[in-house]
Amino acid sequence: MSEHGSARVRKSRRLVERPLAQLTLVRMREFFREPEAIFWTFGFPLLLAGGLAIAFRNKPAEAVPVAVVSGAAGSERVIAALKADSGLVVDVLGDSAAAASLRMGKVALLVEPRGDSVRYRFDSDRAEARSARMIADVALQRAAGRVDPVAVSESRVTEAGSRYIDFFLPGLLGMNLMGASVWSIAFSVVTARSKRLLKRLSATPMRRGQYLASFILSRLVFLAIEVGVILGIGTWMLGVPVRGSLVAVLAITLLAALAFSGIGLLISSRARTVEAVSGLANFVLFPMWIFSGVFFASTRFPDVVQPLIKALPLTATNDALRAVMLQGATLGSQALNLAILTAWLVVTFVAALRLFQWR
């Protein structure tokens, strides 16, 4: 056994054969081979955002259908005036067809030109018919030269940035970062511990820090997908603005994902069963769903508890994301929130490394 004392020579290896790359690949394989995990991480926010996209879609002010009876004197002028109004959809019909359309409710208003005058036929019990009459009348009168004595201007409240969806989307992003980081790490680590796989790994020359680091690296890959899905839907389909820099948004999500990974590692550092870690994870996550301003502003809670709420990592994430996305804040202005996230990251990682049990 002369090899006992001899130094073993490290062979050169391709990157993919290195332990950290292998461990990270294992994380990704385990994840992508679990259909349920894929759904809850990517599919669920996609569905949620899709549902919101339908609920908050930008409806054009709905045009009202009206019909003009053709053939009468002055009808050309009337048709031209009505068609010029974007609030109306104008049909030109014969006498009997027009009457039938009105009866069937296909049109809300029948306009009968009579030389210099017009006659409106409509059901005055229908709100839509009454507004059709008013819109058509304004269009005709203005076309004929009426000048309104009071000047008016309009401000539409559907402006992007102040709707509920604009408030909610950054919160959804933060909540998803938190849930995905904590759950994926907790399940993975605790399952490996309960199967004694952690103990088996600790019996190899594997560097223990690399095992924990592989969770972080794989989180970064998933992070890119999660953030891409939510931000993509938010900005393209829902028109949620990103007024600040996209780089700042990505930097915040990165730091948040690391901080939440630290929380995930910490809560899974000792638990032996998936049930135990689920309870622990809910205990940690639930207050943040409520207090951290996912669904409604955290400022609704009493002033006394505000400092505590502000110190929660999800509050810091949501506040920073909202400031950058909705108010165009710079990353520098969010220094406090970033410091809070960094503190969570450092404290949870150090604690997890010290408490982590391999068996």
Binding site: M1, H4, L25, K195, T204
Partner: protein
């Protein structure tokens, strides 16, 4: 088999491990020579797993000295992990990975690793290379676990109950695997409660009970220590009893023992002992329920030393 003068692969002195309510290992000593296959044989709860896990660097001892491959765990943990192959009792590898992926992962941890293809061929899992672990049979899973232990080209292989729960065919396949590893001159330390496994695989066996080594030697030496060419077992009908000293006094009987209702006689020659036994039973008016003879095994050695069976079956 290695010569008694071969260097020690493993040396354990005065090992003690206590848990809250029980002393699992109670002053155990062991010396395993390089190149031999050494077995720790004992019933469940004898302290075999605790002992082997202390040797593997997974559990800290309360007292005693452990030297593995000339190194100590407190000084050279990483070097030792690099040079050891370990198969724990009842480890479940990740279900979602394939055989090849699992071995590639384990290979990545070692500075010197055997090519994954070689290891797959060695454990005869070529057809299952791309199968996920969840779809493997018990025997295949266990061969994969042993493959993970062998992928780092270990000088010393620890196998904790490698065949527990396997069917006879899978068990034999695993034995062949260990035999082949052994034939390359490397050292194996295994625990088992199957005496047959110890007899087939081990050059030397330590019988462990209550955290101590109670007998040590080659399987042949241990069996010879019984001083019996044959063992006669019998049971009596109607729960009848017969005194042990009467049995011991029979011609050709070297020792007699009774465990539950089972009498066991260590005899030199069956044909010398049997007439006397039958005559004694007839004279006392008791009837035989069953009578068998077999060659002595390590099981008989264990029963002889402890008065208990190795396994409750």
């Amino acid at each position: 088999m290695s010569a008694p003068s071969a260097p020690l692969a493993l040396s354990v002195r005065g090992l003690v491990k206590r848990y809250a309510d029980v002393t699992a290992v109670d002053g155990l000593d062991l010396e395993v020579r390089a190149g031999e296959c050494f077995g720790l044989l004992g019933p469940n709860g004898a302290g075999k797993t605790t002992t082997i896990e202390i040797c593997e660097g997974l559990t800290a001892a309360d007292a005693g000295e452990v030297t593995v491959l000339g190194r100590r765990w407190d000084r050279h943990p990483r070097e030792l992990r690099e040079r050891l192959g370990i198969c724990l009792q009842d480890t479940q590898l990740s279900d979602k990975l394939t055989v090849e992926e699992t071995l590639t992962l384990f290979a990545s941890f070692y500075d010197v690793a055997r090519p994954v293809d070689d290891v797959i061929a060695m454990v005869s899992l070529g057809e299952k290379r791309a199968s996920r672990v969840v779809g493997l049979s018990g025997g295949q899973k266990q061969r994969l676990a042993v493959a993970c232990a062998m992928v780092g080209e270990p000088e010393l292989l620890f196998l904790d109950e490698p065949t527990t729960g396997l069917d006879p065919q899978s068990r034999r396949q695993l034995w062949e695997l260990v035999e082949r590893f052994k034939s390359t001159g490397r050292t194996v330390v295994l625990t088992t409660h199957y005496m047959e496994e110890a007899e087939v695989l081990c050059d030397r066996v330590a019988i462990v009970d209550h955290g101590k080594v109670i007998a040590l030697g080659t399987p042949r030496e241990l069996v010879a220590s019984l001083d019996a060419e044959h063992v006669v077992d019998f049971t009596l009908a109607h729960d009848a009893e017969v005194a042990l000293d009467l049995l011991q006094a029979l011609p050709g009987v070297r020792s007699a023992r009774r465990t539950a209702g089972l009498y066991e006689l260590a005899v030199g020659a069956v044909h010398e002992a049997l007439p006397g036994l039958l005559a004694l039973l007839a004279a006392r008016g008791v009837e035989l329920a069953e009578l068998k003879t077999h060659s002595p095994t390590l099981e008989d050695v264990f029963v002889g030393l402890t008065g208990r069976a190795l396994r409750d079956e």
